[in-house]
């Protein structure tokens, strides 16, 4: 892809060291030479009908292969969600029809390869990295694992036992309880709200069911591939051609992800856990999709200002720096290309400041309407995006990975250019409008995990409380 040539202040030598003591003035007077940088563009090809992105980088004798699938666990029938969630684990540990599980492990560790396979809700992927001299071993092994999974029954039993233990430990940490309670309250039993496999699903683990899932997620029509590092292109392409030969086409049986019906706030849900710090998450439907639209870019800037940018954000400044209530506080205004996601704010606040902290978080969200972002606030977000753009192109594997993501999401190859231009065009009025339209501090759904007897005030002061017993969190 092509990115911008930036775009900074006029060229000048380093500023003279005029006022040593006044560092702020010195920083303000500094001028920087323009950053001349043309990020390398991966070559896009097609092998056996599968899009392949190549980017050579011979600085080190290493090679990285990334495979991404546009299908994930949420595309499976509901009854196979648990199998899908562990299908990655079995691809990695269950062996292949040619190699026993132990042989796969031995090869990976002997050649010191980094193998990673994941099945997520929206999409899935697999990657291998290692020394370039093991190119054929890497490719042979990764393709064998994806094309011919054995799902050895001994490894299925191990996975089942481990998932049972994960289930047993599901309430041990407050963060896990908060995440699961939040998912249940906001998404019900929708597959996008699931993150733990239930015992009845574990009982349904069989090699055949894993195979059913794997061959529908990892099959040629779903895939894009990226290779970066030290390779000979001709030999690599010939190898890829041979590896795709005989890979069965995708079988039917998957579905589109069903829409989520997010609940309407205000709503207050309390989960009791005996800890001296309260975990709080509050939010509602985000109502924004990733797209080349003014609303999307304005929402990105709004989130930066509100809680997405760490110490410069309102949320962390107020809840941490000014009040000392929490170590961590942030917001996330989620969005996808094909669907809306959630907006939420989160913090862990000491028990005896729970209600004060919760009110403060609400107040900070409301401040976006009451005290709308200034031109200076917006400029900070824009400057940060523009000046940090180079960090998106630090390595060949990172650049290739980005292109794979754009290809899967249906975004154009020059999406990052469009993104930067979109962010640069945002005005304070647009940020004000987008927050007024989509963020509603009076309609938040709030989930609280902690011990109410240690709170500063009764939660009822904030609104009607629904108690969710920790064992009432289904997943």
């Amino acid at each position: 892809m092509r990115a911008l040539l930036v775009l900074t202040a006029a060229a000048a030598a380093a500023a003279p060291l005029a006022a040593q003591q006044d560092t702020r003035a010195q920083v303000q007077a500094m001028q920087y030479a323009p950053l001349r940088f043309q990020p390398p563009s991966p070559k896009r090809l097609s092998v056996a009908g599968v899009p392949v992105f190549l980017l050579a980088d011979r600085a080190l004798p290493t090679l990285s292969i990334q495979i991404r699938s546009k299908r994930g666990v949420a595309h499976l029938p509901d009854s196979l969600w648990g199998v899908g969630w562990q299908a990655d684990n079995l691809l990695r540990t269950g062996g292949t029809t040619r190699l026993a599980p132990d042989s796969v492990d031995r090869l990976i560790e002997f050649y010191a390869l980094q193998v990673n396979i994941f099945t997520d809700n929206d999409e899935s992927g697999a990657s291998v990295g290692g020394l370039a001299r093991y190119r054929d071993q890497m490719l042979d092994l990764l393709f064998d694992m994806l094309k011919n999974p054995r799902n050895d029954s001994s490894r299925v039993r191990i996975t089942a036992a481990q998932q049972e233990e994960t289930w047993r430990r599901r309430n041990d940490q407050p963060g896990n309880v908060l995440g699961r309670a939040w998912a249940q309250v906001l998404r019900g039993d929708h597959p996008l709200g699931r993150s733990i496999v239930m015992p009845e699903e574990i009982a349904g683990f069989t090699p055949a069911r894993f195979r059913w899932v794997q061959e529908r997620i990892f099959c040629p029509q779903n895939l894009v591939i990226g290779v970066s590092g030290d390779y000979d292109e001709r030999a690599l392409l010939a190898k890829l051609e041979s590896l795709f030969r005989g890979w069965t086409a995708c079988a039917p049986g998957l579905r589109e992800i069903p829409p989520v019906a997010f609940p309407q706030g205000p709503k207050l849900v309390y989960v009791e856990k005996d800890v001296n710090q309260t975990s709080i998450r509050m939010g509602h439907a985000g109502s924004i999709k990733v797209a080349n639209t003014p609303d999307y870019f304005a929402a990105q800037v709004a989130d930066f200002i509100l809680g997405g940018s760490g110490f410069t954000s309102r949320m962390l400044s107020r809840v941490r720096s000014d009040s000392g209530f929490a170590y961590s506080a942030f917001t996330q205004w989620g969005s996808e290309t094909d669907r809306e996601d959630l907006f939420f704010a989160q913090a862990q606040i000491r028990a005896e400041k729970t209600v004060a902290g919760l009110k403060l978080m609400q107040e900070v969200i409301a401040s976006m309407a009451k005290d709308p972002p200034t031109a200076q606030d917006v400029k900070l977000a824009q400057d940060n995006e523009i000046n940090s753009f180079v960090f998106r192109f630090e390595s060949a594997s990172q650049i290739v990975g980005q292109q794979l993501g754009y290809a899967l999401d249906g975004l154009p190859a020059n999406w990052f250019d469009l993104y930067l231009r979109g962010i640069q065009a945002v005005t304070p009025a647009q940020v004000r409008d987008v927050t007024a339209k989509y963020l509603h501090a009076d309609k938040l759904v709030t989930v609280i995990v902690g011990k109410s007897s240690g709170f500063d005030k009764p939660l009822a002061e904030i609104g009607e409380v629904t108690v969710l017993p920790v064992d009432g969190i289904k997943r």
Partner: protein, 491 residues
């Protein structure tokens, strides 16, 4: 006697790192690399949790937070007004501490009034503060990864900048080192308390680890939590933090690594220009306390409403001891990957554990622990994990690792060595850390290479020497006993 043959330099040792030491002792390790125009800065100070004195645990870490609060010019609207309030605030903070330290006799009403007053005063000082200005300047200039961390041995500060803005690091970093201001100190102390609750008090494994270290180290400060003991964090004063700074943050205790798209000569000139006028500080001296040999197994239990886990620790030497490479290889053979001995037995063969890991904790400078961390799968217990760990440690003394096992470790060492060269920040971390800990940026590369020369006999020897029951500390996480129903109708 023939001179010992020096091993060939590793690829890491051959990196064209330029070492530039200022007259005040501050060390800069400069490495120009091809690639995107970015530059990473990592500074390690020889200042860690072990360097704290009695009663101020957590100060090294709290000071690390404070260094983000700015300087005499960054972060303030009116320095004189701010400073005028500091003695008033400190006096109230001292009163809070006095009341707090009365323990059982503390007047909780008075304590609360004093705390409210302290908060009120800091809030009034905040009118003169430009909140998080240092962060704002860096954010505006496209910095990424701005952070810091404190360990038992050292403290580090790091971020990356677009290469054309490298000078900004020199301006800001020298400013906060020369003119730090401990503004918003007492509210930041509260933030650190929340960090402690987040990482330790609400986390079963965090709590277990803290108490386990305290049990294993009775004399050496490796037993003290870096985040601090709760009561001591609440008593640390602004002056304590400044005193810690004065003792340990001399430029001669700092090693900076700058890696990326840089002009080495320009970096050298800026290093002199911005840091050259800082007077050298006291030389960092190693901790005098040594942990006496352990004479008998120690066992602790930590009660928490969570499922069981176990930590098994044996005292082993620090990272520069001649046995360190063999211990690192032993750790890999035991738990490094799915083909390792303990993983094969506990996770794959017997299905007793969901996870088993080994690492050497909590630092590198001083004698430490090799810690095995096991998570049982019910109905198996932590005792089952212990049994397997001891049997495998015993077995390796009888059955040496095979050549294939050792070759696997050598391959992993080689690949990891090359992998470490892939990112500016990762490389800067290694150079700066090695320079601070060992006064030699090449040492970490040599240590990694030394692991490749470990023999089966070396592994067996260290297994026999260190993994004895009397040298062991075991910590287990257990559920608290359920309260017994109160008998009724009796006295």
């Amino acid at each position: 006697v023939a001179p010992a043959q020096q091993p060939a330099p590793t690829p890491g040792e051959k990196l064209p790192v330029v070492e530039h030491v200022l007259p005040n002792g501050m060390t800069f390790l400069l490495l120009r690399r091809e690639g995107a125009p970015t530059v990473s800065f990592v500074t390690h100070y020889r200042a860690g949790g072990v360097d704290e004195w009695t009663g101020i645990s957590g100060t090294a870490h709290l000071f690390e937070h404070m260094l983000f609060k700015g300087s005499t010019s960054v972060g303030t609207k009116d320095l004189a007004a701010e400073r005028a309030l500091f003695p008033v605030i400190d006096a109230v903070a001292d009163s809070v501490t006095e009341e707090f330290r009365r323990g059982a006799l503390t007047d909780s009403g008075r304590l609360q009034r004093l705390r409210d007053r302290l908060k009120q005063l800091e809030d009034s000082a905040r009118q003169f503060v430009v909140s998080n200005e240092l962060d704002r300047i860096l954010t505006e200039n496209g910095a990424v990864g701005l952070n810091a961390s404190t360990s038992s041995d050292v403290t580090n500060y790091f971020f990356s900048l677009p290469a054309n803005r490298a000078q900004l690091w020199f301006v800001l970093e020298s400013d906060r080192l020369k003119h730090p201001v401990m503004r918003e100190f007492y509210s930041e102390r509260e933030v650190v308390m929340e960090e402690r609750r987040l990482r330790v008090e609400t986390q079963p494994l965090g709590l277990l680890y803290e108490e386990f270290l305290q049990a294993a180290f009775r004399a050496h400060p490796y037993g003290r939590p870096v985040v601090g003991i709760a009561s001591e964090i609440q008593a640390v004063s602004r002056n304590n933090a400044l005193e810690y700074f004065r003792r340990y943050y001399g430029p001669n205790n700092a090693v900076v690594a700058i890696v990326g798209d840089i002009q080495v000569d320009t970096m050298k000139a800026w290093a002199t220009r911005y840091f050259g006028d800082i007077p050298a500080g006291a030389e960092h001296k190693p901790v005098v306390t040594q942990e006496p040999p352990q004479r008998g197994e120690r066992r602790i239990q930590v009660e928490f409403d969570a499922n069981p886990s176990v930590l098994i620790g044996h005292h082993v030497p620090g990272a520069q001891h001649p046995d360190a490479p063999a211990l690192a290889v032993l750790s890999q053979l035991m738990t490094g990957g799915r083909t390792s001995r303990l993983f094969q037995r506990l996770v794959i063969r017997d299905r007793v554990a969901a996870a088993i890991n080994a690492s050497q904790q909590p630092g590198q400078l001083y004698p430490r622990l090799m810690v095995f961390n096991g998570v049982p799968i019910a109905p198996n217990t932590t005792a089952d994990i212990e049994k397997a760990v001891y049997e495998e440690l015993d077995r390796i003394q009888r059955e040496p690792p095979t050549e294939a096992e050792l070759q696997k470790v050598r391959n992993q060492v080689e690949a990891a060595g090359i992998q470490r060269l892939t990112s500016n920040l990762g490389l800067a971390f290694q150079l700066s850390s090695s320079g601070a800990l060992w006064h030699d940026w090449k040492q970490t590369f040599r240590d990694q290479a030394a692991q490749g020369r470990v023999t089966a006999a070396d592994v067996q020897r260290v297994a026999k020497l260190y993994f004895t029951p009397s040298n062991r500390t075991v910590g287990t996480l257990v559920r608290p006993p359920k309260p017994q129903p109160t008998p009724t109708g009796t006295n």
